[in-house]
């Protein structure tokens, strides 16, 4: 601990001399760094077994290979990631802990619905390889053929179909915006709430509800039992090539398509750390980028259905912040399920 405290000014001086750009690019300076000199921790704000936990555990050996220090995974679940995020905010800005997080929508949602004290802007995305989109789907046994049929029936009688969705979720925002665009009175629709994507999917596949609005990825193992009705996206998905897209649906119905990503998952640090320790951040960034692009990593993670796309900090932060802003704008839609 003491070591890193008096080490900072020396590195700052070095950095000033070299210039920030040079420090990022010059490997010579990186070699002079002692960071990291002890194991790196990947913090997952969810319990074991979920997507982020599996992603962190699968990535750990590859990050380790490229950063030269052991990488371990710890979980700190609870409070819709508030506990993990708050814990992370309390850690020193030394770069020894990196989060693997469904940053969008969990960070903005925890602020909007759980009164968390941090801001969406406090976090900095290194890379968000995994994106999950809201999918409106019904059980094949329901005999609903298209999203237009759903719109028609709900417009005629809002009580005619029941809708399954998670409260306080990106899916709910998408559902609400979609209903608003069609002039369907949401307060009269029979909306059934599920506290988790799993239960919401089971209810959809089991036909407990007529239509479910929930992240599409989790539906993959039971693809045969559901009919995808509408994908909240502007580009075709490889998972559901036949699912109609929101952009096309909106154009046909004559409204502006608006949607937020269901999940944006990947590596997250604090903005505070990036500002205070740019050279350490650069080392982390390089190692994570190299690990993500490592062919062995790509094939290993691919086998586990984990994403390894490299978007980089710029694109990832843009995607994260724009979806956070959209959520903030429609925060009142979240208040009432």
């Amino acid at each position: 601990m003491t070591d890193s405290i008096h080490a900072i000014p020396r590195r700052r001086a070095l950095l000033l001399a070299a210039g920030a750009g040079a420090a990022l690019a010059a490997p010579g300076i990186a070699r002079a760094q002692t960071f990291p000199e002890r194991p790196i921790t990947l913090l997952v704000p969810f319990a074991t077994g979920g997507y982020n936990d599996r992603l962190a555990r699968a990535m750990a050996p590859f990050v380790q290979k490229h950063i030269g220090q052991p990488v371990t995974v710890v979980n700190r679940p609870g409070g819709g990631t508030v506990l993990g995020n708050t814990f992370y905010m309390q850690q020193p800005d030394d770069g020894y802990m990196v989060m693997v997080h469904s940053a969008g929508p969990y960070i903005p949602l925890s602020i909007l619905t759980r009164n968390a004290r941090y801001k969406a802007d406090d976090f900095h995305m290194i890379n968000l390889p995994s994106r999950d989109l809201t999918l409106a789907a019904c059980a094949t046994s329901k005999g609903i053929n298209s999203i237009d049929e759903v719109v028609q029936r709900l417009k005629a009688d809002p009580r005619s179909l029941s809708i399954g969705v998670q409260p306080a979720s990106a899916d709910l925002i998408n559902m609400a915006l979609w209903m608003q665009a069609h002039g369907i009175d949401r307060s009269r629709v029979r909306v059934v709430t599920y506290d988790g994507g799993g239960p919401a999917r089971t209810a959809t596949a089991g036909g407990h509800v007529d239509v479910g609005f929930v992240g599409g990825e989790g539906f993959l193992p039971i693809k045969d039992r559901i009919k995808p009705l509408l994908l909240f996206s502007d580009e075709k998905s490889t998972d559901y090539p036949d699912a109609p897209l929101l952009t096309d649906h909106a154009r046909a119905a004559g409204f502006q398509p608006q949607s937020v990503d269901g999940s944006q998952r990947g590596f997250v640090v604090l903005k505070r750390f990036v500002a205070a320790q740019p050279e350490r951040y650069a080392i982390l960034l390089r190692a994570i980028e190299a690990a993500t692009k490592d062919p062995e990593c790509v094939s290993t993670l691919g086998n586990q259905q984990l994403a390894t796309t490299w978007y980089g900090p710029e694109a990832s932060n843009r995607a994260y912040l724009s979806s956070a802003a959209l959520m903030e704008r429609y925060a009142d839609l979240l208040k009432q399920a």
Binding site: T41, T48, V73, V74, N75, R76, A337
Partner: protein
């Protein structure tokens, strides 16, 4: 089964317990009603809280005129004190986990609890708490994916 009722008295301790619990239930009901009157909020909560409050009336009335029966087996004051000491030590242990670290807290609590339990031999008092602490801390470090603060280990 017939026991002679000698006289009736107020059973203060259980009366205080049910009253406190009913008070918490009432406060909870009021807080929940403050959040929203929507049935989606109060569907199960409100009827249950009313049930608890209704039962409190019955129970409190019973405790006010508790029959004192003969042959009631009660602990001696010394025994009650020992239980309270254990409860207190356990509470301090929980408070100490984050404050002084899981290791020290486990060591201290094990030692105090052994003394409360009646262990007086110096050797076990000296050896068991630290060895047990070492086993627990290392064991759980291996098993559990969550970090916990320690001061010695």
């Amino acid at each position: 089964m017939q026991t002679a009722i000698l006289r009736r008295r107020i059973a203060w301790a259980p009366l205080a317990l049910v009253t406190a619990l009913a008070g918490i239930a009432l406060a909870y009901l009021l807080e929940a009603r403050g959040v929203s009157h929507d049935p989606q909020n109060l569907l199960l909560l409100q009827p249950t809280a009313w049930l608890v409050l209704g039962l409190w009336v019955f129970l409190a009335f019973g405790f006010l005129r508790m029959p004192v029966t003969e042959g009631e087996v009660r602990e001696t004051p010394a025994e009650v004190l020992r239980i309270l000491a254990m409860v207190g030590a356990f509470g301090l242990f929980i408070l100490g986990l984050e404050a002084v670290g899981y290791d020290l807290s486990i060591w201290g609590f094990t030692l105090v609890a052994l003394v409360i339990g009646g262990e007086r031999k110096p050797l076990p008092l000296l050896l068991f708490p630290p060895l047990f602490m070492l086993g627990v801390v290392h064991g759980f470090r291996l098993l559990v994916p969550y970090p916990f603060p320690t001061s010695l280990l």
